[in-house]
């Protein structure tokens, strides 16, 4: 498999008048084409910082981030970012919310508009195109946010705990839903979460980070013995016998570190 994204020896700190807070320390990993990678770590360990660096919102203090072997700065438009909350703008209809990205990048043309309609139809939002965000359920809003990201055709999708604002039941359904959409679209995805079961149910590979300043603790590749690839859905994974094994393995990794710092 081809490497699409490489993160090489990244370190980053936040500066305030009170002092310096190191967030990330010497992190290196790479993401393969079409892979679904999850990053787990304790709350506030700097996971979101990692995504901000990859998306080019922040510049790393040390190290480099390469997309197709070239620096990320010149090709930010190949990165899609899905935030913790849907952040749909209430004064726009769902359809116009989806077109926000193309509007900003001046790529709004009839073809993009047609694709927006197609994507909304495909993901069950067809009849809500002219609705206001507040008229939609939490799960539908999150799906609209995904369509808003997908319309820009990103090569890599960054997901910053995109389900954490939803209630438990919606959360299971939506993570199942969104996970399948991302696989169907064949996107490379990088999910950041503190929810272990979410990471295990969605990802191909899991990176475990230590608490702040975050460094790479270990990598776990996930293999589920489903006879048909179509059975490999987040909900089925949660019921598979391997799920518990992986859960315990990663749980131990995370807690081992917590105890060291205590």
């Amino acid at each position: 498999m081809d490497t699409i994204l490489s993160i090489n020896h990244i370190s980053h700190s936040y500066h305030t008048l009170k002092g310096e807070t190191p967030a990330l320390y010497d992190i290196s990993f790479s993401v393969n084409q079409g892979e679904f990678l999850a990053v787990v770590g304790p709350s506030g360990c700097g996971k979101s910082t990692l995504l901000s660096l990859i998306s080019g919102l922040l510049q790393p203090e040390k190290g480099e981030i390469l997309l197709h072997g070239k620096p990320i700065e010149e090709q930010k438009d190949k990165i899609g970012y899905m935030l913790q909350r849907d952040e749909l703008l209430e004064w726009r209809s769902i359809y116009r919310n989806v077109l926000l990205g193309p509007e900003i990048q001046h790529s709004l043309n009839p073809e993009v508009k047609k694709r927006a309609h197609e994507l909304l139809d495909a993901y069950g939002l067809g009849q809500f195109q002219s609705s206001r965000p507040s008229e939609l359920s939490g799960g539908m809003r999150q799906r609209a946010a995904l369509v808003r990201t997908l319309i820009l055709n990103p090569e890599v999708l960054l997901l910053d705990e995109p389900f954490s604002a939803l209630d438990y039941q919606t959360r299971l359904n939506v993570s199942d839903d969104i996970g399948q959409i991302i696989r169907r679209e064949g996107k490379t995805a990088l999910l950041v979460t503190h929810d272990l079961s979410e990471a295990i149910s969605l990802a191909d590979r899991i990176l475990v980070l230590s608490s702040r300043p975050a460094s790479l603790k270990t990598t776990v590749s996930l293999h589920f013995g489903f006879p048909k690839p179509a059975d490999d859905t987040p909900l089925n994974r949660r019921n598979a016998p391997e799920f518990k094994t992986y859960f315990n393995l990663i749980w131990k990794e995370l807690n081992q570190h917590e105890n060291q710092t205590d």
Binding site: S55, L57, K76, D77, Y81, L83, Q84, R85, E87, L89, W91, L100, G101, E103, I104, Q105, L152
Partner: protein
């Protein structure tokens, strides 16, 4: 949320009826207070309980207005005050939005200018009026500037605070879509500030009227402010009270126009 008018349950329709009754009662007492006040005023003035030379009376004020309306001498005063208020209000609205946008763009500029805005905002603006007369002369420009001076600094500060209070995550969304700060301004900051801009306009229209009247007190040959000062000097209390009532009505109408604009914006947005 949206219930059809046709199939209301008994409890819902009794609730609605109770609400309607309550609204009617409030309206009734509102009008009753006004009528009672006017009747009491007219009666005490007629019986000689209060001195009608000093306190005037509703009927005298009305006759005074009708006679001035008949010889058309009241209309220049009304239109001048209205014109000056509207011009200064429009200028305040435009300038304060523009200034708040500039301050939002440049943290450095806003940090430098903040103490000056605070001082100018807390300064009693009526103190500036004599200065403006000397600088600009005793004409309409002075009065418009006086009207603006009352509202503009506070308005800039209110709008700037509102702009900087924009949801950080919404701004992050724009940057994750690879937008610039100009995109953040036009797609998020300004649209989300529309309700605040309109409520700010409601405050400004009243303040502009205050400034215009202060200006007219000092430097005018026409306008309601001039009429008030003139009639107090010659002890024409009918004129004075009529001018104040006309000002009340003008303030109400201007406020209602902005209320209408607000409702229009809500429909469009």
């Amino acid at each position: 949320m949206k219930t059809k008018q046709t199939d209301l349950s008994a409890s819902q329709s009794s609730y609605l009826a109770a609400r309607k009754k309550e609204r009617r009662l409030v309206l009734f007492f509102r009008i009753a207070v006004l009528v009672l006040f006017l009747v009491l005023w007219e009666w005490t003035a007629g019986e000689g309980i209060i001195d009608s030379f000093i306190f005037s009376s509703p009927s005298k004020i009305l006759t005074c207005f009708l006679s001035m309306a008949a010889d058309k001498s009241i209309f220049p005063h009304l239109s001048v005050t209205l014109y000056e208020t509207i011009v200064s209000f429009l200028l305040v609205t435009g300038i304060s939005i523009l200034a708040a946008v500039l301050l939002w763009f440049s943290r450095k500029l806003s940090a430098v200018l903040e103490p000056y805005l605070v001082v100018l905002n807390s300064l009693p603006k009526s103190a500036l009026a004599p200065l403006l007369i000397v600088w600009l002369g005793a004409d309409r420009t002075t009065i418009i500037v006086a009207g603006m001076s009352v509202a503009v600094f506070g308005s800039i500060m209110t709008l700037y605070t509102c702009f900087t209070g924009t949801d950080k995550n919404k701004l992050k969304l724009i940057y994750t879509l690879h937008g610039t700060s100009l995109h953040a301004l036009t797609k998020v900051v300004l649209p989300s500030a529309v309700p605040a801009i309109i409520s700010n306009m409601k405050v400004n229209i009243g303040l502009c009227l205050v400034g215009v009247i202060i200006g007219e007190f000092l430097a005018a040959r026409e306008g309601l402010g001039y009429l008030i000062i003139y009639s107090s000097q010659v002890f024409k209390m009918d004129w004075l009270l009529m001018s104040i009532i006309l000002l009340c009505i003008m303030a109400m109408v201007l406020y209602a126009v902005i209320g209408l604009l607000e409702r229009l914006c809500r429909k469009v947005l």
